[in-house]
Symmetry: C2
């Protein structure tokens, strides 16, 4: 076979990816600190050991009261309650609210015993040691109830999610200081070609700089993998083989160059000695000479030497293979904008830019309940953001909108 004559068969892109993924052995897992887990792939479901919030707490600054003591109160008929003290934030209240009594409280402070609602400051007048109640409240008004955000025992994040900042927030709010994730794939990168010289050296006639190693190195970092550059191998079977053996200490190997069907395309020939070629030659342009193999469950990617083709093949074939090492498939990328139909009215106030958290599911957009901005789980239950501009008064059911994905959408491999 000679380069230029081309491949006898070309594997369809999706088939090539699927057959490669099916032969990959997932990596082991490890525990990492909460400050180090961003971008890692969850290897366990996150189940809440506590209720969030862990106690009934004030959702407004005001006075903790017994709701029934305010029934009938109005501007025309204010009612008086005696202020018997204050609850400090971050402390267990020692005070109990009795009939006709009120306790000063700030947002986030635990509701004292006896109280079941909070009067907002706007709806009272202070009169010495009394407050005048100008509006009645119902039980649990202006109270964030224990477990309202996340219930004890609830699974709030599933295995296979790529950990986002909002996930870190939720995991931390449950008190976890570490989390179980898949090991980060260590990927060896090798360029092949007699014509290559390393950057920084003077350019000799007939040579070109090795741009593929630094480029693929960067693309691996971008996608959350750990690159190791092994440098350049000459177009020589023995040298390629020595390099491959060195590279097999890592979790995956990416070759660029030497993967076509010319006399100097020796990479597939060497790789074949150690494992199974899954495909070689794909129906994609650029990128046709791409090949892949599996050696002891490790993916070996053979990307074209032409840099543009190498990078596009990297995204098309290497990224899915490397995610396969963590048992997931990437369906859609964070920050993608997708369209969908609003499934029930999403209100907003004119003049205020509203960040509506929504669940996007295959073209349908569902609002996520957010009773107060304190609801952290809303950013995890939602997977997309619908920004309602200042001049728009919400979206009606049936309207088409564009939302921004707040996370990579992944699927766990069977």
């Amino acid at each position: 076979m000679v380069r230029g004559i081309g491949f006898k068969t070309r594997t369809n892109v999706d088939e090539a990816i699927n057959s490669l993924i099916s032969k990959i052995k997932p990596l082991e897992t490890e525990a990492v600190n909460i400050y180090q887990c961003y971008g890692r792939v969850l290897a366990e479901d996150i189940k809440s050991p506590i209720d969030v919030p862990p106690f009934d707490r004030a959702a407004m600054d005001g006075f903790a009261v017994r709701a029934e003591d305010t029934f009938g109160a109005s501007l025309m008929n204010p009612m008086l309650l005696r202020v018997i003290g204050a609850v400090e934030i971050g402390e267990k209240p020692s005070i109990t609210v009795g009939e006709g009594e009120a306790v000063k409280i700030v947002t986030g402070a635990p509701l004292p015993n006896g109280a079941d609602a909070v009067l907002m400051l706007e709806h009272v007048n202070l009169k010495g040691e009394f407050v005048e109640v100008l509006k009645s409240v119902t039980p649990f008004k202006n109270v964030s109830r224990k477990g309202e955000d996340i219930k004890k025992g609830e699974i709030i994040l599933k295995k296979g999610e790529i950990i986002q900042p909002q996930d870190v927030g939720v995991i931390a709010s449950l008190g976890y200081d570490e989390v179980k994730v898949f090991k980060r794939p260590k990927v060896a990168v090798i360029s092949t070609g007699n014509e290559l010289i390393e950057v920084g050296a003077p350019l000799e006639y007939g040579r070109i700089y090795n741009s593929n190693n630094p480029m693929i190195f960067a693309a691996l970092i971008e996608n959350g993998f750990e690159p190791i550059s092994l440098g350049i191998a000459k177009d020589d079977e023995e040298e390629i083989e020595k390099m491959l053996v060195k590279a097999l200490k890592f979790d995956a190997v990416i070759f660029t160059g030497g993967t076509s069907v010319g006399e100097r395309d020796l990479v597939p020939k060497v790789v074949e000695k150690y494992g199974e070629i899954i495909f070689h030659g794909v129906s994609m342009k650029p990128g046709m000479p791409t090949g892949a193999a599996v050696i002891d469950g490790k993916p070996i990617l053979m990307l074209p030497g032409s840099p543009a083709a190498a990078l596009l093949s990297f995204y098309t074939f290497a990224v899915p293979a490397l995610y396969g090492l963590m048992s997931i498939r990437l369906i859609a990328r964070k920050w993608s904008r997708v369209r969908g139909i609003v499934q029930s009215r999403i209100p907003s106030e004119i003049g205020i830019r509203t960040n509506a958290r929504v669940l996007w599911d295959d073209g349908k957009v569902y609002p996520i309940r957010t009773s107060g901005s304190g609801i952290l789980s809303s950013l995890v239950r939602a997977n997309a953001l619908l920004v309602i501009p200042e001049w728009k008064e919400g979206y009606e059911e049936g309207e088409e909108v564009e939302v921004t994905l707040l996370r990579n959408i992944t699927e766990v491999l069977a």
Copy 2:
């Protein structure tokens, strides 16, 4: 003022961002190695010191010839050329092609003196020391010409770009082993609130875990900044001030909590002693209590304590401010999918998935010339990818398509 009563004025979101950015002093620059520059912000234009490719080279495997020697050749009228040797890849050819002669050549090898075209293997028959030419070639057929991809002296990347893998490839192909970038902003993160305890500790009644520090820490990493967590400050002026002074050793400060208008919201009061409050209270939900100040040209972000509000405010206000430290504004994120109208026909072959590199400019989609997959600059001249599926035969002028942005679109601040 008391929490719950609300802000007297609320600044419009875009105005708030613009007035903050206008007061920020950009960071200094530094040189970083080509393997370490991914995601950094270019602080210089990248001008090519060489032609790419640096010499005329074969774009196909075959025979280097003088085109005129093939004129008139056809299947019915084959012409004979004498093979006088071969050119090795990566070496300066010592051979010269004379009249009636041909030299064996592989893709990427330099064209020998005298030759001006390459005959493809498909169009010749080997006959001992001769080749039979079955098809004529014109001058420079199957030749990648010197400077065809990038011309010496050309500016190929501009100051203010966030360096992507394809940029790393282009910079390396020019031989640079380092590049000048803005220093990476070091950002101090502080949570405030008496109710907060650190993750890992047992939960006391009335307390909640500090989820904002790890969450904002992760969001800073996600966006390419360097986080330093300073932990928790109590709702106490002196403690907040001590923390602020410590934080001012870094390039920017992010507070969460204590930023509203209640009795315990002490952060703006402390910050005001050291610098200028640019805004406090914005017309955005959630996130209304967001504030920002500038101290000695450093942005100080005061985000709400509620985690969901804190994160959304981070993306809305902190990210633009921190990019401001590197003199850029982020217009659209990589991997965003945007729509546009094809401005001239983009061909593809049925049965082959084609990655067309396009320039997306405000709703218009222009194909980028890619003569061969070797054209690395195409991935830099283009800013988006149009994937043409296997079953589609290209796109016509005027068709609406969806493309995926291949880079963050940025704008250099004046």
